[in-house]
Symmetry: none
Subunit: 413 residues, 2 copies
């Protein structure tokens, strides 16, 4: 099945928005064995959009558009496509109800232009949007499938996952099985380097690496018709993965390091507290993104100033004067004193120089001390991270999650 993605939106053509939608969809469709052959982007311009859809219709079996389904005047995707195939737009009662409910739930007043989103091309299928006002739309025309998705990535991915994926999966009859290995504490090129022999000769399975900050996700995908054969093949590769990345694999899924750690804390009922200086609450914020984490995480301190370190954490003034706020000694007092305050099993402290200012020859920007006090036993780790302020903060947070996991796993050994 040949697929074409059409992105609609002038914001893409003037460079105000990065088109992450096409990458997401391309990856998801490739995993299904659907060949994406073209990406096309046009602005909120009915003539050019029509031309793009006509060209796509001539060369592709599946067309997926993103954008242009919203309530405003320049949202034209549905109108243009209905027009090409001589379909009327008919108000859908269920969609109207959902829309009204959407505004009731949010206690917003609905402006009348929103009703535009309840008109659907006749004979089309509605793809429910659980997080926005514009539903997706699926049309079948002359043996081809046209799917229209909303443009905001959060809405697009939800509609795709929940309404589109099940339909496409039914349509494909080749099997595709993927296994995932998520790695921390290793860079993408280093990970790839250890896999070069396999990547160079890959046909089936295929190996792909994806880097996120602090994580490298490796996907190994087998294609075929026999599930047992495919799994046997993947088992062989799994052995290799375990040999080469034993210390780095933190999960056999796409789950992030942060989620993995939160799950682990909850499963083992290990309580945790944080005292952050240079990360300024980022670690606490990442922890509390996880639902139910309140069972193990109750206390986080952001002691950004020396006064806060002294008053809230009881760090000794002399320590700060003698060794500085960014030092092994301060990190140690921060996490050990935190234990007295929080009574948690693990107490984490972070102090460092995120930059761009505040660095010196002796203590450069990017210098970070992380303290982990687990059950009375304290370890201090020293790092020098590269990058701008936000990157240093993010890398520090990633390292903290890596260290929390490692500490728990090592203790259990």
């Amino acid at each position: 099945m040949k697929c074409e993605l059409i992105s609609v939106g002038t914001e893409l053509l003037v460079g105000d928005t990065l088109n992450t939608n096409v990458q997401y969809l391309s990856r998801e469709l490739s995993l299904l064995g659907i060949r994406v052959c073209y990406h096309t982007t046009v602005g909120d311009n009915p003539k050019r959009l029509e031309e793009a859809v006509r060209i796509a219709f001539n060369r592709s079996d599946l067309i997926i558009t993103t954008g242009g389904l919203g309530p405003t005047q320049d949202d034209l995707t549905k109108e243009v496509i209905a027009d090409i195939f001589h379909k009327k737009l008919i108000q859908d009662e269920k969609t109207k109800e959902d829309l009204l409910q959407y505004f009731v739930n949010r206690e917003f007043t609905m402006t009348p232009n929103n009703l535009k989103q309840t008109f659907i091309p006749e004979t089309a299928e509605i793809l429910f949007n659980p997080v926005g006002t514009a539903p997706g739309i699926l049309m079948k025309e002359q043996g081809r499938i046209i799917i229209m998705l909303p443009g905001p990535p959060r809405e697009m991915t939800r509609v795709f996952q929940e309404a589109v994926l099940p339909i496409l999966k039914q349509d494909q009859n080749q099997l595709v099985i993927s296994r995932y290995y998520n790695l921390s504490d290793i860079g993408e090129s280093a990970a790839e380097d250890r896999l070069l022999d396999l990547i160079d000769t890959q046909i089936n399975p295929t190996i792909a690496t994806y880097a996120k900050m602090g994580e490298v996700l490796i996907r190994i995908t087998a294609n075929g018709n026999d599930e047992n054969e495919m799994n046997a093949l993947l088992d062989k590769y799994e052995e290799i993965m375990l040999q080469r990345f034993e210390d780095n694999i933190f999960t056999f899924s796409k789950e992030s390091l942060q989620e993995t750690v939160c799950k682990l804390l909850l499963e083992k009922n290990i309580s945790l507290a944080t005292a952050e200086s240079c990360t300024g609450g980022l670690i606490a914020a990442l922890l509390t993104e996880y639902p139910g984490i309140s069972k193990v995480f109750g206390t986080g301190l952001v002691t950004y100033s020396n006064e806060a370190k002294i008053n809230l954490l009881g760090v000794k003034k002399e320590t700060l004067e003698k060794y500085g706020a960014v030092s092994e000694e301060t990190a140690r007092e921060m996490c050990e004193n935190l234990q007295n305050i929080s009574k948690s099993m693990i107490n984490v402290s972070v102090t460092g120089i995120a930059g761009p200012d505040g660095g010196s020859d002796e203590k450069p920007v990017g210098l970070v001390f992380i303290g982990i006090c687990y059950d009375g036993d304290t370890q201090i780790f020293k790092y020098h991270f590269n990058g701008e302020r936000k990157v240093v903060q993010q890398k520090t947070a990633n390292k903290v999650f890596h260290l929390i996991r490692k500490t728990i796993v090592d203790k259990a050994k």
Copy 2:
């Protein structure tokens, strides 16, 4: 001048690579007043690339390709385009010298396939690549310009800045001036609703709205030849914007709400402290993303559990028992007690139900109380945010930044 960008590379079509090149080029070209009307992406497939170039040639004055200029077998852009216009590829001596020098400088051994990069379509202009082995190429055909750039972003941007931009600047003589208005506390559709009369009739200037969570950016762009005339026109629109969005405009730039607030705090030297429950440190983390914020932000508490609210903040046990952790009363005690701890000028407290669990009929998921205590004067705000956990947390943080700004601005009146 109508422009089309063609990206070449199978890695884009399978979603392995995010196409940042088109955003970069779109932005740069728009700033020059060049209208980018299409983005097209094809894989390393000569037939589809040829087809894409032919379509582009029929509808665009300027075609810029990225990718497919490298040394390997599947790099085909130059070959395909030379073929379309019946040009021979001729080895360029200067390019060959540069290439050999490139490898000498880096003490690398050159593999023979690299020489492919020294063959240039006859009559084409060479665009020197200071950071890679594949030069860019410029061809003029039948009044149209075709520019081929290497794919790696680092090389593409350098060739574009140093070799392409000077040529395009000479070609363009139209001016483009944009003004920005960034709004908070209003949704995109509501913002557009107030602008419908202008959007419906827009020719010059043009009005565009862009939604980010908690913010709506409005860009008004004038085209013309006379800078004074264009600015006079934009001044007229600025008056209208101020009339219609006086309470919402937080900055006349693309700067985010969070940056605007941090700047304001620093400019006015207003110290701030936070006590967060349901946002779990997110507000503190957003504050500390801003360089230099330590001058005004020293203390942040994440009192996620009732114990932490009692022990760290001195919230009364009776208050928690009588009204609950998510209540006006708790929010009030949190921010008023925080003032005693932090001695900051503004003290913010947040308590709410981020979900997915923990909600009830009386106190549903999304219920949030925000307390702002400024100079001893406390105000409590109650909201009901919709969305999943992370969305509720993010919306709460956005609202806090909006309220901090509003409090400061109102006090100054």
